[in-house]
Protein backbone atom coordinates (compact mmCIF):
# COMPACT_ATOMS: atom_id res chain seq x y z
CA UNK A 1 0.00 0.00 0.00
CA UNK A 2 1.21 3.49 -0.81
CA UNK A 3 2.53 5.45 2.19
CA UNK A 4 0.13 8.23 1.35
CA UNK A 5 -2.90 5.89 1.50
CA UNK A 6 -1.91 4.26 4.80
CA UNK A 7 -3.23 6.42 7.63
CA UNK A 8 -1.32 6.61 10.87
CA UNK A 9 -3.00 6.32 14.28
CA UNK A 10 -2.79 10.07 14.82
CA UNK A 11 -4.24 11.10 11.47
CA UNK A 12 -6.95 8.42 11.76
CA UNK A 13 -8.14 9.71 15.14
CA UNK A 14 -8.03 13.30 13.86
CA UNK A 15 -10.20 12.35 10.91
CA UNK A 16 -12.66 10.53 13.21
CA UNK A 17 -12.91 13.61 15.45
CA UNK A 18 -13.41 15.75 12.36
CA UNK A 19 -16.26 13.53 11.13
CA UNK A 20 -17.91 13.49 14.59
CA UNK A 21 -17.71 17.28 14.85
CA UNK A 22 -19.24 17.63 11.40
CA UNK A 23 -22.13 15.28 12.24
CA UNK A 24 -22.79 17.11 15.53
CA UNK A 25 -22.76 20.52 13.82
CA UNK A 26 -25.12 19.32 11.11
CA UNK A 27 -27.41 17.76 13.72
CA UNK A 28 -27.44 21.06 15.66
CA UNK A 29 -28.41 22.97 12.53
CA UNK A 30 -31.29 20.57 11.80
CA UNK A 31 -32.44 20.73 15.43
CA UNK A 32 -32.48 24.53 15.27
CA UNK A 33 -34.49 24.43 12.05
CA UNK A 34 -36.94 22.01 13.65
CA UNK A 35 -37.32 24.20 16.74
CA UNK A 36 -38.12 27.16 14.49
CA UNK A 37 -40.45 25.21 12.21
CA UNK A 38 -42.52 23.53 14.94
CA UNK A 39 -44.05 26.71 16.44
CA UNK A 40 -44.66 28.05 12.94
CA UNK A 41 -46.44 24.85 11.91
CA UNK A 42 -48.45 24.96 15.14
CA UNK A 43 -49.38 28.59 14.41
CA UNK A 44 -50.45 27.59 10.90
CA UNK A 45 -52.62 24.78 12.32
CA UNK A 46 -54.27 27.07 14.88
CA UNK A 47 -54.68 29.93 12.37
CA UNK A 48 -56.50 27.74 9.85
CA UNK A 49 -59.82 28.27 11.68
CA UNK A 50 -59.50 32.06 11.76
CA UNK A 51 -57.76 32.92 8.51
CA UNK A 52 -60.12 34.28 5.89
CA UNK A 53 -60.00 37.14 3.41
CA UNK A 54 -62.59 39.12 5.41
CA UNK A 55 -60.10 39.28 8.29
CA UNK A 56 -58.10 41.85 6.27
CA UNK A 57 -61.16 43.95 5.42
CA UNK A 58 -62.85 44.39 8.80
CA UNK A 59 -61.81 46.48 11.78
CA UNK A 60 -61.70 45.07 15.30
CA UNK A 61 -64.95 44.05 16.98
CA UNK A 62 -66.17 42.60 20.27
CA UNK A 63 -67.79 39.82 18.20
CA UNK A 64 -65.20 37.21 17.24
CA UNK A 65 -67.02 36.46 14.01
CA UNK A 66 -66.93 40.13 12.95
CA UNK A 67 -63.43 40.97 14.18
CA UNK A 68 -60.74 41.88 11.63
CA UNK A 69 -57.28 43.37 11.48
CA UNK A 70 -57.81 46.17 8.97
CA UNK A 71 -57.66 48.88 11.65
CA UNK A 72 -54.73 47.18 13.41
CA UNK A 73 -52.76 46.93 10.16
CA UNK A 74 -53.39 50.62 9.44
CA UNK A 75 -52.36 51.55 13.00
CA UNK A 76 -49.19 49.45 12.69
CA UNK A 77 -48.25 51.01 9.36
CA UNK A 78 -48.91 54.52 10.71
CA UNK A 79 -46.85 53.72 13.81
CA UNK A 80 -43.89 52.88 11.55
CA UNK A 81 -43.93 56.41 10.11
CA UNK A 82 -42.11 58.04 13.07
CA UNK A 83 -39.69 55.11 13.13
CA UNK A 84 -38.92 55.58 9.42
CA UNK A 85 -38.92 59.36 9.32
CA UNK A 86 -37.38 60.21 12.68
CA UNK A 87 -35.77 57.34 14.60
CA UNK A 88 -33.94 55.71 11.66
CA UNK A 89 -32.36 58.86 10.13
CA UNK A 90 -31.62 60.26 13.58
CA UNK A 91 -30.04 56.99 14.71
CA UNK A 92 -27.92 56.72 11.58
CA UNK A 93 -26.86 60.37 11.88
CA UNK A 94 -25.79 59.78 15.48
CA UNK A 95 -23.87 56.70 14.34
CA UNK A 96 -22.04 58.75 11.69
CA UNK A 97 -21.26 61.46 14.25
CA UNK A 98 -19.95 58.99 16.82
CA UNK A 99 -17.93 56.89 14.38
CA UNK A 100 -16.66 59.39 11.86
CA UNK A 101 -16.66 62.89 13.26
CA UNK A 102 -16.50 63.10 17.05
CA UNK A 103 -13.39 62.34 19.05
CA UNK A 104 -13.92 59.49 21.49
CA UNK A 105 -14.04 61.66 24.57
CA UNK A 106 -16.33 64.08 26.40
CA UNK A 107 -19.96 64.21 25.33
CA UNK A 108 -19.43 61.85 22.40
CA UNK A 109 -17.99 59.17 24.69
CA UNK A 110 -20.92 59.65 27.08
CA UNK A 111 -23.45 59.30 24.24
CA UNK A 112 -21.59 56.28 22.86
CA UNK A 113 -21.62 54.52 26.23
CA UNK A 114 -25.26 55.40 26.90
CA UNK A 115 -26.35 54.12 23.50
CA UNK A 116 -24.61 50.79 24.09
CA UNK A 117 -26.29 50.39 27.49
CA UNK A 118 -29.72 51.49 26.22
CA UNK A 119 -29.53 49.02 23.32
CA UNK A 120 -29.25 46.15 25.78
CA UNK A 121 -32.43 47.13 27.64
CA UNK A 122 -35.53 45.05 26.84
CA UNK A 123 -38.13 47.01 24.80
CA UNK A 124 -40.63 46.85 27.68
CA UNK A 125 -38.42 49.30 29.60
CA UNK A 126 -38.93 51.83 26.82
CA UNK A 127 -42.66 51.51 27.51
CA UNK A 128 -42.01 52.71 31.06
CA UNK A 129 -39.70 55.50 29.85
CA UNK A 130 -42.19 56.39 27.11
CA UNK A 131 -45.07 56.67 29.52
CA UNK A 132 -43.20 59.18 31.65
CA UNK A 133 -41.63 61.16 28.82
CA UNK A 134 -44.13 60.95 26.01
CA UNK A 135 -47.50 60.70 27.79
CA UNK A 136 -47.01 62.54 31.08
CA UNK A 137 -44.51 65.22 30.00
CA UNK A 138 -45.21 65.71 26.27
CA UNK A 139 -48.90 64.76 26.49
CA UNK A 140 -49.06 62.61 23.34
CA UNK A 141 -52.59 61.19 22.88
CA UNK A 142 -52.91 57.70 24.35
CA UNK A 143 -54.01 54.85 22.08
CA UNK A 144 -52.90 56.54 18.84
CA UNK A 145 -50.37 55.53 16.18
CA UNK A 146 -48.45 58.72 17.02
CA UNK A 147 -47.75 57.50 20.55
CA UNK A 148 -47.08 53.95 19.33
CA UNK A 149 -44.61 55.27 16.74
CA UNK A 150 -42.91 57.52 19.30
CA UNK A 151 -42.47 54.65 21.78
CA UNK A 152 -41.28 52.24 19.09
CA UNK A 153 -38.93 54.91 17.72
CA UNK A 154 -37.52 55.42 21.21
CA UNK A 155 -37.03 51.68 21.67
CA UNK A 156 -35.38 51.26 18.26
CA UNK A 157 -33.18 54.37 18.35
CA UNK A 158 -30.21 52.92 20.31
CA UNK A 159 -30.33 49.76 18.21
CA UNK A 160 -30.32 51.78 14.99
CA UNK A 161 -27.30 53.72 16.29
CA UNK A 162 -25.45 50.50 17.11
CA UNK A 163 -26.37 48.93 13.77
CA UNK A 164 -25.21 52.09 11.97
CA UNK A 165 -21.92 52.10 13.87
CA UNK A 166 -21.41 48.43 13.00
CA UNK A 167 -22.05 49.18 9.31
CA UNK A 168 -19.58 52.08 9.36
CA UNK A 169 -16.91 49.95 11.04
CA UNK A 170 -17.13 47.49 8.16
CA UNK A 171 -15.82 50.17 5.79
CA UNK A 172 -12.07 49.57 5.52
CA UNK A 173 -9.78 52.29 6.88
CA UNK A 174 -8.01 52.66 3.53
CA UNK A 175 -11.20 54.07 2.02
CA UNK A 176 -11.11 57.00 4.45
CA UNK A 177 -7.35 57.38 4.05
CA UNK A 178 -7.67 57.67 0.27
CA UNK A 179 -10.14 60.53 0.67
CA UNK A 180 -8.12 62.38 3.32
CA UNK A 181 -4.96 61.90 1.26
CA UNK A 182 -6.58 63.95 -1.52
CA UNK A 183 -7.26 66.79 0.90
CA UNK A 184 -10.93 65.98 1.43
CA UNK A 185 -12.62 67.30 4.58
CA UNK A 186 -14.10 64.84 7.12
CA UNK A 187 -17.61 65.61 5.81
CA UNK A 188 -16.52 65.01 2.21
CA UNK A 189 -14.88 61.74 3.20
CA UNK A 190 -18.03 60.60 4.99
CA UNK A 191 -20.49 61.61 2.28
CA UNK A 192 -18.45 60.67 -0.79
CA UNK A 193 -16.60 57.57 0.34
CA UNK A 194 -17.76 56.08 3.63
CA UNK A 195 -21.55 56.34 3.36
CA UNK A 196 -21.81 54.87 -0.17
CA UNK A 197 -19.94 51.80 1.11
CA UNK A 198 -21.84 51.56 4.39
CA UNK A 199 -25.25 52.27 2.85
CA UNK A 200 -26.18 48.68 1.92
CA UNK A 201 -25.53 47.43 5.46
CA UNK A 202 -27.33 50.47 6.88
CA UNK A 203 -30.38 49.83 4.70
CA UNK A 204 -30.40 46.18 5.72
CA UNK A 205 -30.12 47.11 9.40
CA UNK A 206 -32.89 49.71 9.06
CA UNK A 207 -35.27 47.13 7.59
CA UNK A 208 -34.38 44.72 10.35
CA UNK A 209 -35.22 47.43 12.93
CA UNK A 210 -38.50 48.17 11.15
CA UNK A 211 -39.36 44.47 11.33
CA UNK A 212 -38.64 44.50 15.07
CA UNK A 213 -40.72 47.63 15.55
CA UNK A 214 -43.60 46.12 13.58
CA UNK A 215 -43.66 43.04 15.79
CA UNK A 216 -43.20 44.80 19.13
CA UNK A 217 -46.09 44.71 21.65
CA UNK A 218 -44.52 44.94 25.11
CA UNK A 219 -43.62 48.67 25.22
CA UNK A 220 -47.02 49.58 23.74
CA UNK A 221 -48.92 47.75 26.47
CA UNK A 222 -47.28 50.02 29.05
CA UNK A 223 -48.35 53.26 27.37
CA UNK A 224 -52.08 52.61 27.36
CA UNK A 225 -52.58 50.36 24.34
CA UNK A 226 -54.49 47.81 26.39
CA UNK A 227 -57.75 49.55 25.37
CA UNK A 228 -60.08 48.52 22.56
CA UNK A 229 -60.42 50.56 19.36
CA UNK A 230 -62.99 49.77 16.74
CA UNK A 231 -62.05 52.37 14.15
CA UNK A 232 -59.58 52.39 11.33
CA UNK A 233 -57.13 55.25 11.99
CA UNK A 234 -56.69 57.57 9.01
CA UNK A 235 -54.33 59.93 10.84
CA UNK A 236 -51.56 59.68 13.42
CA UNK A 237 -53.74 61.11 16.17
CA UNK A 238 -56.84 58.95 15.64
CA UNK A 239 -57.34 55.98 17.98
CA UNK A 240 -55.79 52.79 16.65
CA UNK A 241 -54.30 49.67 18.19
CA UNK A 242 -51.28 48.16 16.37
CA UNK A 243 -51.41 44.55 15.25
CA UNK A 244 -49.13 42.96 17.90
CA UNK A 245 -51.31 44.41 20.67
CA UNK A 246 -54.47 43.11 18.97
CA UNK A 247 -52.89 39.64 18.76
CA UNK A 248 -52.10 39.89 22.49
CA UNK A 249 -55.65 41.03 23.32
CA UNK A 250 -57.39 38.37 21.22
CA UNK A 251 -55.09 35.66 22.56
CA UNK A 252 -56.32 36.38 26.09
CA UNK A 253 -60.05 36.13 25.29
CA UNK A 254 -61.97 32.96 26.22
CA UNK A 255 -63.83 32.58 22.89
CA UNK A 256 -62.09 29.83 20.82
CA UNK A 257 -62.81 31.77 17.61
CA UNK A 258 -60.84 34.71 19.03
CA UNK A 259 -57.96 32.30 19.72
CA UNK A 260 -58.07 31.23 16.05
CA UNK A 261 -58.27 34.88 14.96
CA UNK A 262 -55.28 35.69 17.21
CA UNK A 263 -53.30 32.87 15.58
CA UNK A 264 -54.31 34.12 12.10
CA UNK A 265 -53.34 37.70 12.96
CA UNK A 266 -50.09 36.40 14.47
CA UNK A 267 -49.35 34.56 11.24
CA UNK A 268 -49.93 37.76 9.26
CA UNK A 269 -47.52 39.53 11.62
CA UNK A 270 -44.88 36.82 11.23
CA UNK A 271 -45.17 36.97 7.44
CA UNK A 272 -44.96 40.79 7.41
CA UNK A 273 -41.90 40.79 9.70
CA UNK A 274 -40.20 38.11 7.63
CA UNK A 275 -40.95 39.97 4.40
CA UNK A 276 -39.38 43.13 5.80
CA UNK A 277 -36.33 41.15 6.89
CA UNK A 278 -35.98 39.50 3.47
CA UNK A 279 -36.47 42.86 1.69
CA UNK A 280 -33.72 44.40 3.82
CA UNK A 281 -31.37 41.52 3.10
CA UNK A 282 -32.13 41.75 -0.65
CA UNK A 283 -31.54 45.50 -0.73
CA UNK A 284 -28.31 45.12 1.25
CA UNK A 285 -27.02 42.46 -1.15
CA UNK A 286 -28.05 44.49 -4.18
CA UNK A 287 -26.28 47.55 -2.76
CA UNK A 288 -23.12 45.56 -2.09
CA UNK A 289 -23.11 44.15 -5.61
CA UNK A 290 -23.30 47.53 -7.36
Amino acid sequence: MSRLRRSTDTSGSRQRRDRTARVLARGGAWLLLLLLALPLLDLLRRASGGLEWALFLRPDSIEAGAAGIRGALQASLLALVPVILVATPLGLAVAVYLEEIAARRGVAALVDGSVRHLATLPPVVFGLLGFGGLVVVLGLPVGTPLLAGAVLGLAMLPRVVLAGQFALRQVPAFVRETGYAMGASPLQVVTSHVLPRAAPAMVGASFSMLARALGEAAPLLLVGFAAFAVGRPQAMTEPGIPLPVVVYQWGGLPDPLFAARAAAAGLVLVVAVMLLGVAGEWLARRGRAT
Binding site: A103, F174, Y180, A181, M182, G183, P196
Partner: protein, 272 residues
Protein backbone atom coordinates in the same frame (compact mmCIF):
# COMPACT_ATOMS: atom_id res chain seq x y z
CA UNK B 1 28.09 67.64 6.02
CA UNK B 2 28.80 64.02 6.68
CA UNK B 3 29.43 62.02 9.78
CA UNK B 4 30.98 58.71 8.96
CA UNK B 5 29.81 56.26 11.53
CA UNK B 6 31.27 52.93 10.54
CA UNK B 7 32.81 51.17 13.47
CA UNK B 8 32.34 48.55 16.06
CA UNK B 9 30.09 50.40 18.52
CA UNK B 10 26.32 50.06 18.50
CA UNK B 11 25.50 53.77 18.57
CA UNK B 12 23.33 55.03 15.78
CA UNK B 13 24.66 58.24 14.33
CA UNK B 14 23.57 59.86 11.09
CA UNK B 15 25.81 59.34 8.12
CA UNK B 16 25.70 60.91 4.67
CA UNK B 17 24.33 64.29 3.75
CA UNK B 18 20.87 65.08 5.21
CA UNK B 19 20.95 68.75 4.29
CA UNK B 20 19.88 69.79 0.84
CA UNK B 21 20.79 73.04 -0.88
CA UNK B 22 17.22 73.93 -1.83
CA UNK B 23 14.84 71.54 -0.12
CA UNK B 24 11.16 71.56 -0.95
CA UNK B 25 10.41 69.84 2.35
CA UNK B 26 12.66 69.74 5.36
CA UNK B 27 12.31 67.88 8.65
CA UNK B 28 13.94 69.41 11.69
CA UNK B 29 14.18 67.22 14.75
CA UNK B 30 11.06 65.36 13.71
CA UNK B 31 9.86 62.68 16.11
CA UNK B 32 6.60 60.77 15.87
CA UNK B 33 5.16 58.88 18.84
CA UNK B 34 2.23 56.53 19.18
CA UNK B 35 1.36 57.03 22.82
CA UNK B 36 4.77 56.68 24.49
CA UNK B 37 6.29 54.53 21.73
CA UNK B 38 8.56 56.37 19.32
CA UNK B 39 7.92 55.55 15.65
CA UNK B 40 10.41 58.08 14.31
CA UNK B 41 13.07 59.81 16.39
CA UNK B 42 14.86 63.09 15.75
CA UNK B 43 14.88 63.00 11.97
CA UNK B 44 16.78 65.78 10.18
CA UNK B 45 16.43 65.60 6.42
CA UNK B 46 15.80 67.78 3.38
CA UNK B 47 14.02 66.54 0.26
CA UNK B 48 15.13 68.07 -3.03
CA UNK B 49 12.96 69.73 -5.65
CA UNK B 50 12.01 67.67 -8.69
CA UNK B 51 13.96 64.81 -7.29
CA UNK B 52 12.92 61.28 -6.39
CA UNK B 53 13.87 60.42 -2.82
CA UNK B 54 13.31 56.93 -1.47
CA UNK B 55 12.86 56.30 2.23
CA UNK B 56 14.08 52.76 2.72
CA UNK B 57 13.88 50.49 5.72
CA UNK B 58 12.57 47.25 7.10
CA UNK B 59 8.91 46.94 8.17
CA UNK B 60 8.46 48.92 11.39
CA UNK B 61 11.43 51.17 10.67
CA UNK B 62 9.16 54.25 10.64
CA UNK B 63 9.03 54.88 6.89
CA UNK B 64 5.28 55.38 6.71
CA UNK B 65 5.17 57.51 9.87
CA UNK B 66 7.84 59.80 8.42
CA UNK B 67 6.13 59.97 5.02
CA UNK B 68 2.70 60.70 6.47
CA UNK B 69 4.04 63.28 8.88
CA UNK B 70 5.06 65.38 5.85
CA UNK B 71 1.46 66.26 4.94
CA UNK B 72 -0.05 65.76 8.40
CA UNK B 73 -1.83 62.54 7.52
CA UNK B 74 -0.56 61.24 10.86
CA UNK B 75 -2.85 63.77 12.54
CA UNK B 76 -5.79 61.52 11.67
CA UNK B 77 -4.67 59.07 14.34
CA UNK B 78 -5.65 60.48 17.74
CA UNK B 79 -2.90 58.47 19.47
CA UNK B 80 -0.13 60.07 17.45
CA UNK B 81 2.03 62.85 18.89
CA UNK B 82 4.51 64.74 16.77
CA UNK B 83 7.49 66.76 17.95
CA UNK B 84 9.75 68.86 15.74
CA UNK B 85 9.16 70.80 12.55
CA UNK B 86 8.30 70.03 8.95
CA UNK B 87 9.01 72.94 6.63
CA UNK B 88 7.41 73.20 3.21
CA UNK B 89 9.21 75.91 1.26
CA UNK B 90 10.40 77.19 4.63
CA UNK B 91 6.91 77.32 6.18
CA UNK B 92 6.12 75.14 9.16
CA UNK B 93 3.25 72.84 8.17
CA UNK B 94 2.42 72.32 11.84
CA UNK B 95 2.08 76.02 12.61
CA UNK B 96 -1.26 77.06 14.13
CA UNK B 97 -3.74 78.17 11.47
CA UNK B 98 -2.28 75.99 8.74
CA UNK B 99 -4.97 74.92 6.24
CA UNK B 100 -4.42 71.18 6.44
CA UNK B 101 -6.72 70.40 3.49
CA UNK B 102 -4.81 72.83 1.27
CA UNK B 103 -1.53 71.35 2.52
CA UNK B 104 -2.69 67.86 1.52
CA UNK B 105 -3.52 69.20 -1.94
CA UNK B 106 0.03 70.53 -2.28
CA UNK B 107 1.68 67.49 -0.72
CA UNK B 108 -0.47 64.64 -1.97
CA UNK B 109 -0.20 61.13 -0.57
CA UNK B 110 -0.90 58.01 -2.62
CA UNK B 111 -1.53 55.31 0.01
CA UNK B 112 -0.02 51.86 -0.37
CA UNK B 113 -3.33 50.17 -0.93
CA UNK B 114 -4.78 51.43 -4.19
CA UNK B 115 -8.46 52.20 -3.93
CA UNK B 116 -10.82 53.57 -6.55
CA UNK B 117 -13.74 55.67 -5.42
CA UNK B 118 -17.16 54.28 -6.34
CA UNK B 119 -17.42 56.67 -9.23
CA UNK B 120 -16.55 56.65 -12.92
CA UNK B 121 -12.92 56.71 -14.03
CA UNK B 122 -13.32 60.34 -15.03
CA UNK B 123 -14.84 61.34 -11.69
CA UNK B 124 -12.10 59.50 -9.82
CA UNK B 125 -9.39 61.56 -11.47
CA UNK B 126 -11.48 64.73 -11.38
CA UNK B 127 -12.10 64.32 -7.64
CA UNK B 128 -9.15 66.40 -6.43
CA UNK B 129 -9.56 69.32 -8.85
CA UNK B 130 -13.27 69.35 -8.05
CA UNK B 131 -13.06 69.44 -4.26
CA UNK B 132 -10.26 72.00 -4.32
CA UNK B 133 -11.95 74.19 -6.94
CA UNK B 134 -9.09 73.90 -9.42
CA UNK B 135 -11.29 73.92 -12.51
CA UNK B 136 -13.54 76.82 -13.48
CA UNK B 137 -15.43 74.87 -16.13
CA UNK B 138 -15.80 71.45 -17.66
CA UNK B 139 -13.05 72.07 -20.21
CA UNK B 140 -10.52 72.84 -17.48
CA UNK B 141 -11.66 69.82 -15.51
CA UNK B 142 -11.21 67.60 -18.56
CA UNK B 143 -7.73 69.04 -19.03
CA UNK B 144 -6.82 68.19 -15.42
CA UNK B 145 -8.12 64.66 -15.89
CA UNK B 146 -6.24 64.22 -19.15
CA UNK B 147 -3.03 65.58 -17.61
CA UNK B 148 -3.31 63.21 -14.68
CA UNK B 149 -4.04 60.18 -16.82
CA UNK B 150 -1.25 60.99 -19.28
CA UNK B 151 1.25 61.51 -16.49
CA UNK B 152 0.29 58.11 -15.12
CA UNK B 153 0.53 56.54 -18.59
CA UNK B 154 -3.09 55.50 -18.43
CA UNK B 155 -4.83 57.83 -20.86
CA UNK B 156 -4.55 55.68 -23.99
CA UNK B 157 -5.69 52.58 -22.13
CA UNK B 158 -8.87 54.10 -20.71
CA UNK B 159 -9.75 56.98 -23.06
CA UNK B 160 -12.77 55.08 -24.41
CA UNK B 161 -14.18 54.13 -21.04
CA UNK B 162 -13.75 57.24 -18.95
CA UNK B 163 -17.43 57.34 -18.03
CA UNK B 164 -17.39 53.67 -17.04
CA UNK B 165 -16.67 52.28 -13.61
CA UNK B 166 -13.24 51.27 -12.34
CA UNK B 167 -14.25 47.66 -11.81
CA UNK B 168 -12.36 46.10 -14.71
CA UNK B 169 -9.00 47.72 -13.99
CA UNK B 170 -5.96 45.50 -13.47
CA UNK B 171 -3.99 45.98 -10.22
CA UNK B 172 -1.36 47.90 -12.16
CA UNK B 173 -3.99 50.14 -13.77
CA UNK B 174 -5.49 50.74 -10.33
CA UNK B 175 -2.07 51.86 -9.05
CA UNK B 176 -1.77 54.14 -12.07
CA UNK B 177 -5.27 55.51 -11.52
CA UNK B 178 -4.39 56.46 -7.93
CA UNK B 179 -1.25 58.19 -9.16
CA UNK B 180 -3.26 59.94 -11.90
CA UNK B 181 -5.79 61.10 -9.31
CA UNK B 182 -3.00 62.60 -7.22
CA UNK B 183 -1.17 64.14 -10.19
CA UNK B 184 -4.40 65.75 -11.46
CA UNK B 185 -4.11 68.03 -8.44
CA UNK B 186 -0.78 69.26 -9.83
CA UNK B 187 0.94 68.74 -6.48
CA UNK B 188 4.20 70.27 -5.42
CA UNK B 189 5.24 67.06 -3.67
CA UNK B 190 3.96 63.57 -4.35
CA UNK B 191 4.21 61.06 -1.51
CA UNK B 192 4.06 57.44 -2.64
CA UNK B 193 3.66 54.83 0.05
CA UNK B 194 5.21 51.61 -1.23
CA UNK B 195 3.97 52.21 -4.81
CA UNK B 196 4.73 48.72 -6.14
CA UNK B 197 3.25 46.69 -3.30
CA UNK B 198 1.43 43.62 -4.54
CA UNK B 199 2.46 44.02 -8.19
CA UNK B 200 4.22 41.40 -10.27
CA UNK B 201 7.78 42.29 -11.36
CA UNK B 202 6.94 43.53 -14.91
CA UNK B 203 4.12 45.75 -13.58
CA UNK B 204 6.37 46.99 -10.76
CA UNK B 205 9.05 47.85 -13.31
CA UNK B 206 6.58 49.92 -15.32
CA UNK B 207 5.48 51.77 -12.16
CA UNK B 208 9.15 52.42 -11.37
CA UNK B 209 9.61 53.98 -14.82
CA UNK B 210 6.52 56.07 -14.25
CA UNK B 211 7.78 57.33 -10.87
CA UNK B 212 11.06 58.29 -12.48
CA UNK B 213 9.21 60.41 -15.03
CA UNK B 214 7.02 62.10 -12.42
CA UNK B 215 10.01 63.97 -11.03
CA UNK B 216 9.79 66.29 -14.06
CA UNK B 217 6.47 67.57 -12.72
CA UNK B 218 6.98 67.51 -8.95
CA UNK B 219 9.16 66.30 -6.12
CA UNK B 220 8.58 62.64 -5.34
CA UNK B 221 9.15 60.99 -1.99
CA UNK B 222 8.42 57.31 -1.72
CA UNK B 223 8.76 54.57 0.85
CA UNK B 224 10.08 51.22 -0.20
CA UNK B 225 11.45 48.16 1.52
CA UNK B 226 13.82 47.04 -1.19
CA UNK B 227 17.13 48.86 -1.48
CA UNK B 228 17.45 47.56 -5.04
CA UNK B 229 14.18 49.13 -6.08
CA UNK B 230 15.16 52.36 -4.36
CA UNK B 231 18.39 52.33 -6.35
CA UNK B 232 16.50 51.88 -9.61
CA UNK B 233 13.94 54.58 -9.03
CA UNK B 234 15.42 57.24 -6.74
CA UNK B 235 18.20 59.75 -7.11
CA UNK B 236 18.61 59.92 -3.36
CA UNK B 237 18.03 57.37 -0.61
CA UNK B 238 17.29 57.85 3.07
CA UNK B 239 17.79 54.72 5.14
CA UNK B 240 15.74 54.36 8.33
CA UNK B 241 16.32 51.79 11.02
CA UNK B 242 14.22 51.43 14.19
CA UNK B 243 12.79 54.92 13.76
CA UNK B 244 16.14 56.61 13.29
CA UNK B 245 17.53 58.07 10.11
CA UNK B 246 20.77 56.19 9.64
CA UNK B 247 22.06 57.53 6.37
CA UNK B 248 21.03 59.81 3.52
CA UNK B 249 22.98 60.00 0.31
CA UNK B 250 22.94 59.90 -3.44
CA UNK B 251 21.51 56.53 -4.43
CA UNK B 252 24.62 55.29 -6.27
CA UNK B 253 26.92 56.26 -3.45
CA UNK B 254 24.75 54.82 -0.70
CA UNK B 255 24.40 51.53 -2.53
CA UNK B 256 28.04 51.14 -3.48
CA UNK B 257 29.81 52.73 -0.52
CA UNK B 258 27.48 52.87 2.45
CA UNK B 259 28.97 54.88 5.26
CA UNK B 260 27.15 53.31 8.16
CA UNK B 261 27.49 49.65 9.09
CA UNK B 262 23.69 49.30 9.44
CA UNK B 263 23.20 50.61 5.91
CA UNK B 264 25.85 48.23 4.68
CA UNK B 265 24.18 45.36 6.52
CA UNK B 266 20.81 46.26 4.97
CA UNK B 267 22.24 46.71 1.46
CA UNK B 268 23.94 43.34 1.66
CA UNK B 269 20.84 41.68 3.08
CA UNK B 270 22.31 40.84 6.48
CA UNK B 271 19.50 42.67 8.27
CA UNK B 272 15.92 42.93 7.10
Amino acid sequence: MSVPARGGDNTVRMAGAPAHADPVIECRGLSVFRGQDPLVTGVEIGFGRNEVTAIVGAPGAGKTALLKALNRMMDLDAEIRIVGRVLLDGEDVRAPGTDVLALRARVVLVPARPSAFRQSLFDNVAYGPRIHGRARDRTELEQHVRDGLEAAGLFNEVRDRLTGSCDGLTPEQLHRLCIARAVALDPQVLLLEDPCRGLDPPAAARIEDLVHGLAKRCSVILTVQSMQMAGRVAGRIAFLHAGRLIEVNEADELLTTPRHRLTEAYVTGRIA
